[in-house]
Symmetry: C2
Subunit: 356 residues, 2 copies
C-alpha cells in the first residue's frame, strides 16, 4: 500500500461530498418537510401493529402487503412497483443498473444534486440542460438531450426551483428519448399532477415517489418506484435485500390506508404556498418564481448568506441555494404552517427594511 | 425506443436476481437471526425516546449521538465510523467507490452472494478464491489474490460455511494486499474475535458490522463500518443522505447502551452452537464443519432439497445452500433457542432413520 486512497476510483476522489451544516431554529423551513406531523391516529395504528413484532426477524423478502397497497393507491401494477429506503435509494438503484463509463445522463440544472453526484461516482457523463432564464424547464433542449442520453432524469416539480413540467412537455421528451426517462415526482401532491398515467403508454418511463414530503414521513425513509415490470425487474437487481425496516414499512402501510387524514394538510399547504407566493410577489426587493411544490425559491439584491443570517437571527431557518448554477443570491423557503409562514414574511420584510 | 431494456447495462442483464422463496415454520432457523427477541427493557427505552418525536422531520444529517456511542462501544474513532441501513448498504457504498470496469475484487467462495453480485453490476471482475476442501480459508491463495486486487472482501466468520479467519492470517493478507481489505464481521460476536484492533496498524483495512445477528435487530436494518477516517470520508460519498430512519437509529443507540442485556443471549447461543456441533458430529450420515458463527453448515448423502423438505414437514425451516460452489448436498441451520435446536436434531435424525 503506497497510497492510502489508491483503491478509491479517481472519479470519486474528485467528487465533493454532499454535506449539510446543522442549524436549529424555531421555524424550520429549510428541508421541504411537512410542518404537520403524522396524525396521531396513524401513529397509534402503527404502534398497535408493531406491538409484539420481533425486532430480531428480517422483514419479508418481498414487501407484498405494502406493494399491494401502493398499487391500489397509485393505480399501477404491483409487479411494476419497487419500494425503497427513501427515494434516494431508488435513484441510486436506477443509476447503478444504467450508468457506467461511456454512458450519458441528461439532467436539468439546477436540480437535486444527487443525480449528478451518483452519475459521476458511477463513471458516467452528465449532460446538463439549464433551465430558462425564467427558471422553467427548457423543453426543446431537453427533447434534444433525451434524444442522445441513456438516461434522462427530470425532477418535477423541480427541487430547488419549484418549476413543473407539464404532461404535454413530458410526452414530447418521452417520444424523443432514446433511453430511460426518470421522473422524480417527490413533490407531485403539491402540483396535483402525476406522470403515472403515462406509464402504460411509455414503457421506458420510470416514476419515483417519496413519503418524505406530503406524506409527512421524512424521518422514516420510504420511497417507491413505478415502471414497466420488466424494467423494474432489472432495477430490483441493484436494490439491496431487506432495504426497508419493519417499522417504516408498517408506517407506510398505515399512511396509505389513512391517506384521507393527510389530504387536508396537503390542501392547506397548497393554499399557503399560493398565499406566500402572492405576498412575496407584492414585496419590493424580492424576486420570486412560480412553484408547484411545497417550497419557493426567491432572491433579493443582497447576498444569500446575508439574508440567511438575518432570517436565522429572527428564528427562521431557510436554505441558502445560492451555490447552485443560475441561483446567485437565491434562497429556498419551505411552506410551513400558517404562523411559520407569517414569521418568515415578517423576518424577511424586517431585513429588507433594514437595507433601505 | 427500440429495445425496452437497452438502457440497462449488459452486465446487469446477465445477473441473476437475488431471490428468496417465502416459507413459514414453527422453528425458523434459515436466516441466522437471533432467536431471542430484543429484551423488553430496550424496546421500552426506544418507545419512550421516540414518543413525541416528529415523523415528518428528517433524521440528523450526521447521526452524531449514535456515532459517538459506537465509537466507545467498538473502541474506534468516531470520525472513522459510518452508519448504514444494514451493513448491506455499506458493502454497496464500499464497492461503488472502488469498483468500475478494469478493477478486480478478490472474494473467497463460497461466501455471501452480495459481494460478487454488486461487483458484477459495477462492471468489475471477481477473482474467486475457493475455500480448502475442509471448508477453511485458503490463506496462501488469498494472500496471492489480495496482492493483485483493488479490493479484497473477507466474510469472517464466513457465511454460509462458518469458518473463521484468524488474526495472524488476516495480518498476512493485509501485508500482501495492494488495495483495500474489507472484513465483514457480521458474526464476530459468536467468534469472540474482531479485526478492529488491527485498524490502527493497517490503514487500508475496513471492517463491517451489523445489528442483525447478535444484536437482535434484523428487522430494523442497522450496520456500521469502521476504517481510517480518510478512507471513510471517501466511502461516505456513496452513502445516501438520511439513510438511517429515526426509529432504527434510536433502537441502535439503546442496544449499545444496554448491551449487557444482550450479552447473556449471545453466550447461550455460543454454548448451543457447540452443543449442536457435537450432536451433529455424533450423528451418523451427517458431515459437519467447524463454525465460529451462529449457524452450522452440514451435509448428508441425500440431495439437500430432500432434507429440506423432510425438515420442513417437521416444522423446521433451514436453508438449502447446495447451489453455492463446493456445497453440493449442503444445508445451513441457524443456532436457535435450545428447544428449537432439539426440534431440528430430532427432525434430522428422523429423516436419516427413514433413509436406512
Amino acid at each position: 500500500m503506497k497510497d492510502l486512497l489508491s483503491s478509491i476510483k479517481p472519479a470519486v476522489r474528485q467528487v465533493q461530498a454532499y454535506t449539510l451544516k446543522h442549524f436549529e431554529a424555531r421555524v424550520k423551513v429549510n428541508q421541504n418537510e411537512n410542518p404537520f406531523d403524522m396524525p396521531e391516529t396513524i401513529k397509534r395504528a402503527v404502534a398497535n401493529s408493531m406491538s409484539g413484532r420481533a425486532w430480531s426477524r428480517y422483514p419479508a423478502f418481498v414487501p407484498a402487503e405494502l406493494g399491494a397497497r401502493l398499487a391500489r393507491f397509485a393505480n399501477w401494477k404491483s409487479d411494476g412497483i419497487l419500494v425503497g429506503n427513501g427515494s434516494n435509494e431508488l435513484i441510486e438503484a436506477v443509476l447503478m443498473v444504467t450508468v457506467e463509463p461511456g454512458r450519458r445522463v441528461a439532467i436539468p440544472q439546477p436540480t437535486f444534486t444527487l443525480y449528478k453526484m451518483l452519475t459521476t461516482i458511477l463513471g458516467g457523463d452528465s449532460d446538463e440542460v439549464c433551465l430558462t432564464p425564467e427558471l422553467a424547464f427548457d423543453v426543446p433542449r431537453l427533447v434534444e438531450a433525451a434524444n442522445h442520453a441513456d438516461v434522462t432524469i427530470l425532477c418535477s416539480p423541480n427541487n430547488p426551483t419549484g418549476c413543473n413540467l407539464n404532461l404535454n412537455a413530458l410526452r414530447e421528451i418521452l417520444k424523443a428519448a432514446t433511453g430511460m426517462v426518470v421522473v422524480d415526482e417527490a413533490y407531485h401532491e403539491f402540483s396535483r399532477q402525476s406522470a403515472v398515467p403515462l406509464l402504460e403508454e411509455f414503457e421506458h418511463l420510470v416514476v419515483l415517489r417519496t413519503f418524505s414530503k406530503a406524506m409527512a414521513m421524512a424521518g422514516l425513509r420510504v420511497g417507491y418506484l413505478l415502471g414497466h415490470p420488466l424494467v423494474v425487474e432489472q432495477i430490483a437487481k441493484a436494490k439491496l435485500p431487506y432495504n426497508l425496516n419493519i417499522f417504516s414499512m408498517t408506517a407506510a402501510e398505515a399512511a396509505v390506508e389513512h391517506f384521507a387524514l393527510l389530504q387536508p394538510q396537503i390542501e392547506l399547504l397548497i393554499e399557503e404556498r399560493e398565499r406566500l407566493l402572492g405576498e412575496l410577489q407584492r414585496t419590493p426587493g424580492v424576486t420570486v418564481y412560480p412553484s408547484q411544490a411545497n417550497f419557493i425559491a426567491f432572491k433579493t439584491e443582497s447576498p444569500a448568506a446575508k439574508v440567511f443570517d438575518a432570517l436565522y437571527a429572527g428564528g427562521v431557518l431557510v436554505r441558502d441555494i445560492s451555490r447552485y448554477p443560475m441561483l446567485e443570491n437565491f434562497l429556498r423557503v419551505s411552506v410551513g404552517a400558517p404562523q411559520e409562514n407569517d414569521q418568515f414574511l415578517e423576518s424577511l420584510r424586517k431585513f429588507l427594511a433594514s437595507r433601505n
